[in-house]
Structure formats: C-alpha cells, structure tokens
C-alpha cells in the first residue's frame, strides 16, 4: 500500500507550479491526446519480428490508425504487467512513489529542450505511468481517482506511452539532478516492456535484436562476412601504414576476447575506430581474439525488456567461456557498458569462470572490473599510456582540432570520464572541451540512443540533439573544432547525421581512431594519410588521394 503522503505529493505533480522552475503544467495535460503523424514516430515492428522473439500479440498495425488492433483484454495485460514489475523491481515502486515534483529535472531533458513539449519533461513523462499507478495501485487513487492525480488506463494513455517512451533515450541526465535519484530511464524501460506485452514495439529495435540473437550482431552478418569485413580493414591499414595485420577469430585459448559494436566493423565512421583497435593490439602483440558469434557489443535488449537484455548479454559470456579466455576487453560502445556495469552481474553473474582482468602489458589489475571481468578499451589504453607502453606521435592528428562528447552510458552509466580525455590528450595536440554543463556527468545525449537512430524520425532526432549540437557549435566557432570524438558506436552513427545538420564542418570519430593515427608501429612506412586516407598536416600535396 502506498504512503498517503506520497499520494498527496503526487497530486501536486499534476497541478501545482514547480518549486524550482515555476513552470506550471498545462492543466489538461491528461486530456491532451497525442497525434501520430509521419515523422514523429518510429515504424512499428513487423509481425514477423514480434513472432521471432515469441513476444505476445504479433500483428500488423499502424500508429496513425485509430484501431491498434489490441487484444481484447489489453488493459488487464498492462495492469497485470505493472503489478508484476512493481513486485519484482523495487526501484520501479520507489520511483512511482517518491517524486515530490521539485522540478529539478524539468529542463534537463534534451527532448524537452528541443521540442518544448511539457510531456518530455522527465517528471511528466514518468507521470504518464505514475498516474495509472496511482489510479490502480494506491488507496488514495482508487478512491479519489483524478483528484489524486490518477487516471484509468485507456487507449489514449497507451498511445501516449508509445509516443513518449520512444522520445526518451534513457540517457539519465535528469537523474543526475533529481534529489531522490529517480532514474527516469528505468521508467521508460518499464513503459517499453509493458507495451511489448500487447504487441507494441518498433522495428528498428526488434530487427537488430533478432539479428543479434541469431547471428551474433545487429546486421545479421554471418561469420565469414564478419571475418571478411575485418580483412578489408586490415588491407586498408596495410596500405596506410605498411603493417600487415592478421587477427584471429574464435581462437580457443586466447588470453583476451575482444568485443565491440558491429557498427565498428561495417559502417562509417566506426570502421576507422576498428582500424585503431587493430593497430593498437598489433603494436602490443596482444594475445586476443575476435569472435564471429559474440560479434556485437550492443545490446538492444536494454531497449526492449530485461529478459532480452539478459539473453543477449549472456551470449558474450557464453562465448568467453567457450573460448576459455581469461577476460573480456570491450570496445567503444555506449549501452553495452551500461548493461555490463549496472545489470550484468545480477543478470548473468558472477562470471567466476573468468579472471579479474590484468593487463598483460603493464600488469595493472583492473579491480573495478572484478565482477564483470570486462575492461573498457579507454581504461586499457589509458593504462598503457600511463605506463609508457605506447609509442605515439600526436602530431599525426594535427590536421584535426578535437572535442570530446561523453556518451551518456559510459559517463553516467559507469563513470568513465577521465580515461578517454587522458588518452585524447596524449594522442592529439589540439583538444578543447565543450562548456562544463554539457560534458562529463552532465553530458547532453546525441538524441538518438535507445534504438531511436532510425531515419523515419530524422527531424525528431535533430531537435533532440539540439543541446549537444549547440555546445559543439560553440567550440567550433571559438576554437575551430572540426572533430567530435566519442566512445560509442551509436554516437558515431548518430552524431554524424546530427553534425551534418547543425554543424556541417564537424566530423565524428572514435577515440581509438585518433590512437591509431598517432601510434608509431615497428617497421611502418612513413604515414602520409590518416586512417581515412585524408592527408596528414603538411602532407596535403604528397598523398595520392
């Protein structure tokens, strides 16, 4: 039973001005229906995808139609689903009860800042669910209904959930400012889980998840293709550096399993980051292997439901066990690290068949990864640099003026703030930070995470990415920054589009690409270009491009 005081406070959420910002919510927000029109929603999941995952209620449906072809007892399904989750996840129960509507989060969400839509204020987005919770799961709400901020679960509410829980990238910026630490991302996660119970999901999430489940990666690349793609990258590396690299795949007995987002293997600009990894490992003579089965760092289960997240995450550990490696090295991914850092141990841990990761080059023991046995490439590289194990020529990045975007998941999800900066400062001469309130823990999201990086909502992505792009614009104008570096594959894809719209002169790269440019390899030929075949500073007239 809910604490009556919390209910009273909850009532004020819907009606009173915010204590902090003075914002007065529109009185009739509950009665303002959502309007689906081309460009403001993600395409729904194909029936075949829902069936593949064995999710309930597969069917073809369209958000713009009045009739979503919901199962007859859909309200019962949703309310039972809520009950189950309130019992199972203590955090959800707390987040439903403890908000006091201080308003600290109201203007912290990039979706609100880009749209001005009050339902994108984290407090109100959570209220979309909290109102139903109050109505059906609290005494005050059961008696007083709307007077206590409750409302019944109707089709209109369900449609609102689909609209706004897919206008949240689970970036958790709001939770940094929340005095209670309410994690709105977890409210969004629950909202999406509940929607899946009645067959409502998006194709951009369920199809990659299906591919990942089947072949090991989002694109559905089969083992030979995955291997060939990396082979092409090795050819490019050889052309640029003169160094021939022959990585191994699925090699049993390797010391380390390397897992990175598959976008690093097939899509620009991630492929240049992958070339950086290849050069780094060759430089070290690292005993590592790629896997063509655990060939995806990303985990779209995080954007779907906890069971899917657990299943996709388990695959990485099953492969580590099968190959008999000692520990896992993870590439530049965002949400993979949130899954690893916050959920892996309780979902699939303990990974006691692995060892606490120890760098074979420096001897550093990564006790921070003692539970998950997985080390981030930036931690690994920073340790190498700190111990003087890398030969670097930062002037090879002099044709770039660089800033760094903290990816939400690595910054807020695992506290990886200084390591990438330490690496960048050692491989780049011209580095400038964006304004303080837009980086590190307070970083602004790229605007397209959590499976929202799909083309049909491009305008929505552009407005959600406005706060990030606005900060980049500032350093571009002040310092002539032309390169936005990051440690996340979704960022690399989405920031490329975001920059093309807001700051067309700014390109996007991974930190390991900058490392790859700077690494002085034994026996290499004189470098004339960077890993993109772009002439290095001073080489503009010499390179054959």
């Amino acid at each position: 039973m809910a604490d009556p005081k919390a209910d009273q406070l909850g009532e004020s959420v819907a009606k009173d001005p915010s204590m902090m910002t003075g914002a007065v919510p529109a009185k009739d927000w509950m009665d303002t229906p959502v309007e689906f029109k081309s460009g403001n929603y993600c395409y729904p999941a194909k029936q075949s995808m829902v069936e593949y995952h064995k999710f309930p209620n597969p069917r073809e449906w369209a958000p713009e139609d009045d009739d979503w072809k919901l199962p007859e007892n859909w309200q019962e399904i949703i309310l039972n689903g809520m009950k189950e989750r309130l019992d199972k996840f203590r955090s959800l129960k707390v987040f439903m009860d403890c908000c006091v509507r201080c308003g600290a989060c109201a203007d912290k969400c990039h979706f609100f800042l880009g749209t001005g839509d009050p339902k994108n204020m984290p407090v109100l987005r959570a209220e979309l669910m909290r109102s139903v919770y109050r109505n059906d799961f609290t005494t005050a709400g059961k008696i007083l209904g709307k007077m206590a901020g409750g409302r019944p679960m109707t089709v209109e509410v369900l449609k609102e959930w689909f609209m706004y829980y897919y206008q949240c990238t689970e970036c958790r910026r709001c939770s940094v400012y929340c005095p209670y630490g309410i994690d709105t991302a977890e409210v969004t996660m629950m909202g999406r889980e509940l929607l899946h119970l009645v067959g409502i999901g998006t194709n951009w999430i369920l199809e990659p998840a299906a591919n990942s489940n089947r072949t090991g990666n989002h694109m559905g690349l089969q083992p030979h293709t995955f291997k060939d793609n990396i082979g092409y990258l090795c050819d490019d590396v050889e052309e640029i550096t003169g160094i021939k690299i022959e990585p191994t795949f699925n090699r049993k007995g390797a010391e380390i399993l390397f897992i990175t987002p598959s976008a690093d293997v097939f899509a620009e600009p991630g492929i240049y980051t992958a070339m950086g990894y290849l050069l780094l490992f060759e430089h070290l003579g690292l005993d590592y292997t790629w896997s063509t089965y655990a060939s995806e760092g990303g985990n779209f289960g995080l954007f779907t439901n906890n069971e899917m997240m657990k299943k996709l995450n388990a695959k990485q550990y099953a492969e580590a066990k099968r190959l008999g490696v000692k520990w896992i090295l993870g590439g530049e991914c965002g949400h993979m690290w949130r899954v690893i850092h916050q959920y892996m141990d309780t979902m699939n841990g303990p990974a006691d068949f692995l060892e606490v990761p120890t760098s074979p080059i420096t001897g550093t023991r990564f006790d921070n990864a003692a539970a998950t046995k997985m080390v981030h490439i930036s931690e690994f590289t920073a340790d190498l640099i700190k111990n003087g194990k890398l030969k670097l020529d930062p002037s090879r990045n002099d044709h770039r003026t660089v800033t760094f975007h903290d990816s939400c998941n690595t910054a807020r999800g695992m506290g990886l703030l200084d390591e990438p900066r330490y690496v960048i400062n050692n491989v780049v001469n011209k580095f400038h930070e964006m304004p303080e309130a837009t980086i590190r823990e307070q970083t602004f999201c790229c605007g397209s995470g959590t499976g929202l990086n799909t083309g049909e909502i491009m305008e929505l992505r552009m407005r959600a990415g406005l706060p990030r792009a606005n900060a980049v614009k500032h350093v571009k104008e002040r310092y002539d920054v032309d390169t936005l570096s990051c440690v996340c594959a979704i960022d690399r894809a989405t920031l490329s589009a975001l920059m093309e719209y807001w700051n067309p002169e700014v390109g996007v790269c991974g930190v390991s690409e900058l490392v790859g440019n700077a690494l002085i390899m034994d026996g290499e030929k004189e470098r004339e270009t960077d890993l993109r075949f772009t002439p290095l500073a001073g080489m503009e007239g010499d390179a054959d491009v």
Binding site: P118, Y232, M462, A497
Partner: protein, 208 residues
C-alpha cells in the same frame, strides 16, 4: 506604389503624412516592451506547459531553444531600432529557423513568428497619441521591410528542410542500413560522386 495615390484608411490624417514623422527605429526604442511581447508570443508558439521553463532558463547551453528565440528576436528588433546590421540579425534568425525547421510546425507556422512583430507594433501604435505614433507612410515602409525579411527567412527554412533530407540520404549511404564492403580503399573511387550536396538555389546562407 506611392503613398499619395493610396486610399488612406478612415481616420488617417493625410496632413500628418507631410509632417515630420516618428521613425520606426525611434518608435521601437521608445517602446521596448514590444520586444518582450514579441519574445512572449514567439514562445507561445510552443506547447503551453513548457513555455515558462523555456522563458526562465537563460543559459544558452542549458536552454538553446529559449536562448535562440531571444537572440533572434532581440537581434532583429535591434536591427529595426537601427543598432544592428541586417546581416548580423539574419545570422541569429537563421540559427532559430534551423531549429524551427525540425520542430513540429507547418512551413507557415515555422516562419510566421516574424509577423508577430507587426502585430505587436500595430497594437502599440493604435494606443498612441498622434505625435507619438508611427505615420502611415512609416508603417508601410516598416511593413515592406518585414515582408522582405520574411521571404529571406522562408528561403532559410527551405534550405534547412532540404538539408534534413540530405542528412537522411547520406545516413543511408553511410551504411547503417545496408551491409556494404567497409573498405574505404575500395570504395573511395566508387563513391566519389555519391555525397548529396545542397542544391537549394536560394541558399545564400547555406554553408557550403
């Protein structure tokens, strides 16, 4: 069109047109509240519940939308006050138009906030005594300038719309939707001509 040939609205003193009249720049400077009204009405084009927050947070990084609305409106206002060059005011205006081009507005809604200045001036003017009010001739000149700027910002709007389409096409080409050979070496020759460039003939403000 000349003023003498126009049929003047009822109540307009034709003799007043020949006197020394108040310039629009002086009028706007003396009635600074028009600027605030213009900002408020532009903010009011956004959903009601979020407006106060957009108005109150002044930091340009914490609230880029609110900042750009204020910046565009005040720059253009200052231009009409005679203290900011049109070129500079248009840069601020383009920053805002680029935002509104990807928000949920129709094309008309996206650019029509400029006409809210007309409306605010007209309201203020109607409350003034004759010697403090704009002359009809001055009003016509002012209106003509606004209309010319409206056409320019509509061009900006269109060039930004075209840019969004280009962004979407180029994202497809980068390969997140299609499995393609990732080798830059193999593809750089093949793909030399495939990046879609802006084609807007009006895009004088487009950075190329």
């Amino acid at each position: 069109m000349t003023i003498q040939r126009m049929r003047l609205p009822q109540g307009v003193d034709s003799a007043k047109l020949k006197r020394d009249v108040m310039q629009i720049s002086d009028f706007l400077q003396e009635n600074g509240e028009i600027q605030d009204r213009w900002v408020s009405r532009t903010l009011a084009t956004y959903p009601e519940g979020g407006v106060a927050t957009l108005r109150n947070q002044k930091d340009r990084f914490a609230n880029p939308l609110g900042y750009n609305i204020r910046n565009a409106v005040t720059s253009m206002y200052k231009h009409f006050c005679g203290t900011v060059e049109l070129k500079k005011a248009l840069v601020a205006m383009e920053d805002l138009i680029r935002i509104r081009a990807v928000q949920e507005f129709t094309p008309a809604e996206a650019v029509s906030f400029l006409f809210l200045l007309k409306e605010a001036v007209k309201e203020e003017n109607s409350n003034k005594k004759a010697d403090e009010a704009l002359s009809f001739a001055e009003w016509l000149k002012f209106e003509q300038r606004i209309d010319a700027i409206a056409l320019q910002i509509f061009d900006m709007y269109m060039s930004n719309r075209e840019r969004v389409y280009k962004v979407r096409i180029n994202e497809l080409k980068r390969g997140t939707d299609n499995v393609v050979c990732p080798s830059a070496m193999l593809r750089r020759e093949e793909n030399k001509q495939t990046v879609v460039e802006p084609i807007n003939i009006h895009s004088s403000h487009e950075e190329r």
